[in-house]
Symmetry: C2
Subunit: 240 residues, 2 copies
């Protein structure tokens, strides 16, 4: 029976052997939710990059939209910030455009996971697509939490628990303590996910009105149930 | 208000600044529980070492008892294994003796934490002593989970939650997602701690009859409520 494991931080990835596995990269607030939204709203492909300079360079080289934030705020000189709502603004249609997006934690998690057989991006918005894909692959899966500056992050972990719950009973969710803990936290949080995650230190750091809208948006389970950002060569495309 | 934070693995310790803090080293199964038991039963001081060779060398140099295990079993050529029951055997009194104990995960966690102002060893057996000490110090505390080969471990984390619960409301337990998660897991597990932790992958690895006795022993809350192993220069002594 294939296993579900969860890596709580990119800083722990060296302890895992990714070969032959599916890696699910998670950065609920907000990179992975924003990437899912972008592809769901018709963006053709996404280049996740670590730095603002790379973001600009990709934008110029590939003629794509650029999205960047620093410390939770939109960075100056880019088309968009890191909010999913940027892709839902009728005044700036995104359909058919490519996107370069700067996200420190998420990009690090993704780049360190490329030894996996398949690398996809997960969020509550596309939980069903991720679960369907993993189930169809039938291989061990490692959920890679982007975390917050390398540290454990509640919302990414709870997503891991939600995925493990969807994969039960066809996958082994009991051979890893990390998966067990994530499942417990998901079971606790599920009845009122928003209230549960509002406790999160990370969520409380994002305490502006705009961030609060983003937060509620990112918790909508299966709002983009057909979107599966999958890594191909040098970019994420929708494999859903 | 001083803060409670929890580091889930020695592999994440570089992300934390230990200066000015109290570090609580935890390896519930079984190093920290065994060290507490040893000091509780009259051992004068403990040298935690990483390797079997070091354990032998300390034994010869300091004329102390030696305790070592490999893969959960007592290692050949040592006085004791890593079971707390070794210190409760009337046929081999330990009172007044020093001890050298080999523990890979626990020693690594301890050695990487020496930048802290005070380093103590925590277990369910001495939860009250740890809580009292931390409260008296009134400084930020970092619970350092030894984990399992660098990975997240349920029983160490749940101990962190139990300590955070004891320090509430005088300490801030909400500014770290790791602490929040540990508190949630403790609250879930507390009504039947043994059953809860029996799910743990690590616990299931220790599935011999002897290990099962050890497991139940290590979950006795405050059985050694006056024992506080504290690092002094090169050894752990009872500061309780």
């Amino acid at each position: 029976m294939p296993k579900v494991d969860i890596c709580f931080s990119p800083e722990l990835l060296h302890l895992y052997d990714l070969r032959g596995k599916v890696a699910v990269i998670v950065d609920i607030l907000r990179a992975s939710s924003t990437i899912v939204t972008a592809l769901g709203e018709g963006v053709t492909h996404v280049f996740p990059v670590a730095t603002l300079d790379e973001c600009t360079a990709y934008g110029q080289e590939h003629g794509c939209l650029t999205a960047a934030e620093r410390d939770g705020l939109p960075a100056a000189g880019f088309d968009l910030g890191n909010s999913p709502f940027g892709f839902l603004d009728a005044r700036r249609p995104v359909q058919g455009r490519a996107l370069s997006i700067s996200t420190t934690n998420g990009t690090m998690a993704l780049r360190r996971s490329l030894a996996a057989d398949a690398v996809v991006v997960g969020s509550f918005l596309n939980l069903a697509a991720v679960a369907d894909f993993v189930r169809a692959q039938g291989r061990d899966v490692l959920v890679v939490c982007a975390g917050w500056k390398g540290q454990f992050c509640l919302e990414d972990t709870v997503f891991g628990g939600a995925l493990a719950a969807r994969l039960t009973p066809d996958f082994d969710v009991r051979s890893s303590d990390a998966t067990l803990a994530a499942l417990h936290l998901w079971q606790q949080g599920e009845p009122n996910l928003s209230n549960y995650l509002l406790q999160s230190a990370h969520v409380r750091r994002l305490n502006s009105l705009e961030a609060s809208k983003d937060f509620e948006f990112c918790l909508q389970i299966d709002a983009y149930a057909q979107v599966l950002p999958r890594w191909q060569h040098d970019r994420l495309i929708n494999n859903g």
